[in-house]
């Protein structure tokens, strides 16, 4: 089997370097603001950048309209941060997506997460037309074709292909459970270099999934980052499992939060998240965690620290930031 370090560099992004070095990687999700002010992006990013190797800018998460992922990523690159562009197939057809990928690479974005996307019915504008011209696997292969063959899907040549480290999502926690590892194999065949999973609150289910992944020999072919996140209360948990598509939270966890006194619920939620990270680290084939703290980005640093994941190697080469200008300080 080819080890990771022997494989060709895809984009030489910071995230890619950390993963290839064999260190446990940490990425986090940035919630795109409902605002045209770049400071709102930077305020959210600032608390994440020091403690993680990559920042995912969501693309209309939950089908709710926010600042575009490309816009956020461009701002993050400008500040010297390491963004992961999320591309969902819900809102754009293949023409728009391929154009955006070129634009992103030109702006300095080096990591892309290819997603199918939540359906429009989950969001604040359910009357919108759903596109889904490509699916996530077709999007992966299209992006890989652009990167490795230097052509559009139409076969037309690119004068400079986009250098991108390709990611995909997987959700081991919802049916059909036994098809999920095989779908992961499909995504790898289509070009996925790394995987970020949906929220993990069910460790036995993850272990079963990873065992099958190892049986199929997929663990040596893709970097897997397991999605985790803190729950603020049992109400937040109920909301997430009933309203956010694809989130599975076992009853035992919700009960644990219900039994906790009101003032300690948030702390208990963080503790659960840290426990899950510690367990996830022991599973062979897991290369990192992806922390999604919706509207509580400030907790991410604490979680990373308490889980013993500091210092982050990738952040050592972070440029110093001029807090007034939001630009790297030129030495």
């Amino acid at each position: 089997m080819i080890t990771f370090s022997e494989r060709p560099l895809r984009a030489n992004s910071r995230l890619e370097r950390v993963l290839r070095s064999g260190r446990f990687a940490v990425t986090a999700e940035l919630n795109a603001p409902d605002s045209a002010n770049p400071e709102d992006v930077y305020r959210n990013a600032l608390v994440l950048a020091e403690v993680c190797d990559g920042i995912n800018a969501t693309d209309g998460s939950g089908a709710n309209c926010h600042m575009s992922s490309l816009g956020c990523c461009a701002l993050l690159v400008r500040a010297g941060y390491e963004p992961v562009l999320q591309v969902s197939c819900r809102d754009r057809n293949r023409i728009a997506i391929q154009g955006d990928l070129l634009g992103a690479a030109a702006l300095g974005v080096k990591n892309v997460l290819c997603l199918t996307g939540d359906d429009v019915s989950a969001g604040d504008q359910p009357q919108a037309k759903r596109v889904f011209d490509l699916d996530s696997i077709q999007l992966l292969q299209t992006t890989r074709t652009m990167r490795d063959q230097g052509v559009f899907l139409s076969g037309r040549k690119l004068s400079t292909p986009p250098k991108l480290f390709l990611g995909a999502a997987e959700n081991p926690f919802v049916p059909p459970y036994d098809f999920r590892p095989l779908r992961l194999a499909k995504k790898i065949a289509a070009g996925a270099d790394f995987i970020q999973t949906q929220y993990c609150f069910d460790l036995p289910r993850l272990r079963t999934f990873m065992a099958r992944v190892r049986d199929l020999g997929l663990d040596g072919r893709v970097f897997i980052l397991v999605g985790v996140g803190p729950l603020r209360s049992e109400k937040a948990a109920e909301f997430m499992r009933s309203k956010v598509p694809g989130v599975w939270i076992p009853d035992a966890l919700v009960e644990r939060l219900t039994k906790t006194p009101a003032k300690q619920k948030a702390e208990e939620g963080k503790r659960i998240c840290i426990e899950i990270i510690e367990e996830v680290r022991t599973i062979p084939g897991v290369h990192g965690v992806h922390i999604m703290a919706y509207r509580q980005e400030e907790t991410v640093a604490e979680i990373v620290e308490r889980a013993g994941l500091l210092p982050r190697q990738a952040t050592l080469d972070l440029p110093r930031l001029d807090m007034k200008q939001w630009r790297p300080v030129v030495a």
Binding site: D135, I137, Q198
Partner: protein
């Protein structure tokens, strides 16, 4: 349970039949062989008539049985004899991450996920079952509304975008 016209038009018993995918894949195999045999004659006799006949048969037959969306590039036998175009996201390569814990659809909660059904059914299909692992190319949207049978016999539905078929670098 029936939220749209296209859902409502299904024949009573179509679910019963779809839960016998091994039988359906046999029928598919026979139909393909039969059509390959008669199509040249049909085409010579009257190409427009042949097209009308096949489109009509597909619209009615596959429509009522599989809730066919007439995408014109049928892969029913590769997806557990369950039409992937009836997935609200038109996914042809497997389920999305939004499937509910009970196996129901993210978008239409009353309905089973098309891909949960496709996966289960493909497991009892000895002939074409393994084709569920194939990567399906992007849909050719310009074939919408045309006859999938004619596209199959003419080889139109196997044509992928030129960039898609290029060999991939190691």
């Amino acid at each position: 349970m029936t939220s749209t016209l296209k859902e409502a038009r299904r024949w009573p018993g179509s679910e019963w039949l779809k839960d016998r995918p091994a039988l359906l894949e046999q029928v598919y195999g026979w139909a393909e062989r039969a059509l390959r045999f008669v199509y040249p004659a049909l085409k010579r006799f009257g190409p427009q008539g042949a097209e009308r006949l096949l489109i009509g048969t597909e619209e009615v037959g596959k429509g009522y049985l599989f809730n066919c969306q007439m995408c014109g590039q049928c892969i029913l036998h590769s997806t557990g004899m369950t039409c992937p175009m009836t997935c609200p996201k038109n996914l042809r390569n497997g389920p999305c991450g939004g499937v509910r814990p009970d196996g129901h659809c993210e978008v239409i909660p009353e309905r089973m996920c098309v891909w949960v059904q496709a996966w289960e059914r493909s497991q009892s299909m000895p002939v074409y079952g393994a084709e569920i692992h194939l990567i399906q190319p992007p849909v050719n949207r310009s074939l919408q509304g045309t006859s999938a049978w004619i596209n199959l016999l003419e080889g139109v539905d196997q044509q992928t975008p030129p960039g898609w078929t290029l060999p991939t670098a190691k």
